[in-house]
């Protein structure tokens, strides 16, 4: 299945892309998407503990199951205001 990844701020810079398409085994979870990204982009290593995930615009846990066509956003610690 294919998942559309969005990366913001610091994570966008580390990934060197604001968006990326990711091919994953059916039934993969958010954490597996993250692991695949870290393999492709080792600069992300060490960011997991401060990264939150949003699936289709809603915050989800690391073990959230993903579906084909999902949008998975990677959110570093916020700094608004």
């Amino acid at each position: 299945m294919r998942v559309h990844v969005l990366a913001f701020a610091r994570l966008r810079e580390l990934l060197d892309a604001a968006e990326r398409s990711l091919e994953l085994p059916t039934g993969a979870r958010a954490g597996e998407a993250w692991a695949a990204l870290v393999r492709a982009c080792p600069a992300l290593e060490g960011e997991a503990s401060t990264t939150r995930f949003a699936r289709n615009g809603r915050l989800v846990a690391f073990d959230e199951p993903l579906a084909d066509g999902d949008e998975l956003a990677l959110l570093p610690p916020v700094g608004g205001g």
Binding site: G57, G80, G81
Partner: protein, 137 residues
């Protein structure tokens, strides 16, 4: 009124939330400071947002403010893109019948926005360096 703005923010526009029964209107306007927290001279800021989730967060915060403080209306407008020192980064307003609820709701909305809205800030310094800034939890 909840908005992510790409152009200059007009804080007066937040008065649109006022209703006939309102007797108190509190506005917080956050402005780009000329110094970083470490004292370095700032040239400007760059903000980005995950817009669908930012909107949802603004609406959720306003809904929580109503649960806590009663009949209050909240407006939140946050700028994104490149900003210069002195420009408005964020405007938050609360309108209510009386000042106590308006003050409390505005402070709550600002605090929660900083804590959890998916918005990120990068400071660019006059010396050419830049860095992402995290709000303290």
């Amino acid at each position: 009124m909840f908005r992510i703005a790409r152009d200059a923010v007009d804080a007066r526009a937040l008065e649109a939330i006022l209703r006939d029964g309102d007797g108190g209107f509190v506005t917080f306007v956050g402005i780009v400071r000329g110094r970083g927290d470490d004292g370095r001279a700032v040239r400007g800021l760059s903000y980005e947002a995950y817009e669908p989730l930012a909107h949802a967060a603004f609406e959720e915060i306003a809904s929580e403010a109503r649960e806590r403080f009663g009949d209050v209306r909240i407006a939140i407008v946050h700028r994104i893109g490149d900003l210069l020192v002195g420009e408005i980064a964020v405007a938050v307003a609360a309108a209510a019948a009386h000042r106590a609820e308006a003050f409390a709701a505005c402070a709550y909305a600002v605090d929660e926005l900083k804590r959890r809205a998916p918005i990120w800030k990068k400071e660019a310094y006059l010396d050419g360096a830049s860095q992402w800034c995290e709000n303290l939890q």
